[in-house]
């Protein structure tokens, strides 16, 4: 099957379809694909979706940048908040947020601090993360790393920076995590979700150009593969036209 769209465009479309009209949310740190997804949702079916919670309300971005927390990317916006609302939004939560890390495990826990060793004697020190609160105060979040291999999808993360489902339902309850947590894991290869009983990751669909075997070979644990796992619905002609014409004219999602 020929593929006339990129893996990042496929990721964008999957997440855009999952955002609802009237919701409030923000893109997070690695913002390229999340911001494209938000913009696509607003153009397609969610004109009343509000971007907020990270200083800039309803930014009008000229084009997409890999980093989107500065005036270059978002300075043209309807309003700009300061530190004061960091507390408000962090404690109230948003409808949705996006995270990705150095490592992700089968329960959707995310590590941005260190790989190997310990926090203060790490083999490899990562960047850490600024805002952790949206992981458990927001209604839900999406995990959307732009690579998917055995190094970043591991059996157990070395450090829980952002809790997903910890080690299952009991551990979530014990930690006081009451919201949905991670809803979908959207990668360049596939879409995964979580079994509602065990809260473990399972394969939901596989993107065009990949097989189930490809995805499993690039995942450092064995996710459940339900019978209904099938192909990811590809971008429609209209979605691609809006994405390339209005949101990403410079082709950041295709490079």
């Amino acid at each position: 099957m020929s593929m006339d769209f990129s893996p990042l465009e496929q990721m964008t479309v999957v997440m855009a379809r999952d955002l609802a009209d009237g919701e409030l949310g923000a893109a997070g740190a690695a913002a390229l694909v999340p911001m494209a997804a938000i913009a696509l949702a607003r153009e397609m079916h969610a004109p009343n979706l509000t971007v907020g919670g990270e200083m800039f309300f309803n930014p009008v971005a000229g084009h997409l940048y890999p980093s989107m927390l500065d005036d270059r990317a978002l300075g043209r916006c309807e309003a700009s908040e300061t530190f004061i609302e960091l507390f408000g939004h962090s404690h109230h939560g948003l409808d949705f947020f996006f995270h990705s890390g150095l490592q992700h495990d089968r329960y959707g826990n995310i590590n941005l601090h260190h790989v190997g060793g310990t926090l203060h004697a790490p083999k490899m020190r990562g960047p850490g993360a600024a805002n952790l609160s949206y992981g458990h105060t927001s209604t839900r979040f999406y995990i959307c790393p732009t690579v998917h291999n055995v190094r970043n999808f591991v059996e157990k993360v070395d450090f829980v920076t952002i809790p997903g489902n910890l080690s299952g339902p009991e551990s979530r309850a014990a930690a006081g995590l009451t919201r949905q947590g991670p809803r979908l894991v959207v990668t360049p290869r596939a879409v995964l979700d979580f079994d509602p009983k065990t809260l473990r990751m399972r394969l939901k669909s596989v993107h065009c150009g990949n097989s189930i075997e490809d995805v499993l070979a690039n995942t450092g644990f064995k996710p459940d593969v339900p019978e209904e796992t099938g192909p990811t619905p590809p971008p429609t002609a209209e979605e691609l036209s809006v994405l390339r014409g209005k949101i990403d004219p410079s082709g950041a999602l295709r490079s």
């Binding site: 005036d71 700009s80 490899m124 020190r125 990562g126 992981g135 952002i162």
Partner: protein
Amino acid sequence: MERATKTIGLKEAATLASDALQKRPEICLGGLFKQSRPVALVRALLATGANGLHVYSSPGAGYDIDLMIAAGAIDEVFVPGVTLENRLCPNFRKAVESQQVKAHALDALTIVGGLMASAHGVPFQPIGALKGSDVLKHNPLITPFDCPLTGQPLHAVAPIRPAVTLLHAQEADRWGNIRHLSTMVYADQLMARASDMVIVSVDRIVEDDVVLDDPRRVTIPAHYVDAVVEVPYGAHPTASFPNYAMDEAHIDAYADLGDAARRGDGAGLADYLEQHVTSAPEQVAYLRNIGGHARLGPLIAEARAS
């Protein structure tokens, strides 16, 4: 008797900061990631040989923290996210992995909450977030307690009181009234209220009337400011919108030198530090060394276009 102005030179500012930090090493830097970082002030401070610092910042930082670590100035990092965003910070990584620098696990609410407690003059700020994260187990600035009204488990953050805060903004008057013209101000106003000493670099000093004609545009009243330094392009290689964008190519080239040093070839990084930091170039010389107008012109154009 006449009112004292607060405008001073870059080297004088560095000496002020350095003297204060020798008594207490807590330094805080304004801006966020690659925007409005007080980089010229940081370079001048590093040229004084400042060391043993504990560095705080708004919750996300990169280039300047990495440069301070490369110069051997930092013992402990209290910044939740340290990254160049498109790549990791090479000297930060190397120094933490070799255990020369301690990088604490924190989050944004911890830092902002600690600064709020300091600014508000209260012994702690309650925070109710962070659940389920390993950051809870390692965060040195928080103490668990039960809410006296609801019994709900919360965490208390002690005040963070920087001995010196360095900020960069676009404009000030000679009295030290600061005007951020950028859309993003984030935590600069809070840091100014939380600190013992506040030194601000600005791209330009404006006439008194500019402030008096539009007082709501003043983001930090002079009352909170100890000294203001006019430093054209004082945030370079980070951005100072709407005046100039971030110099991504400069930051990337610096990171390449840092990565080479991390792999054992430190000559390029040593040259960079000598040329831009330890030789203490005047700002005019610094700007010439980084490529002069050929370099800055496109950054000005990009800021105007965005």
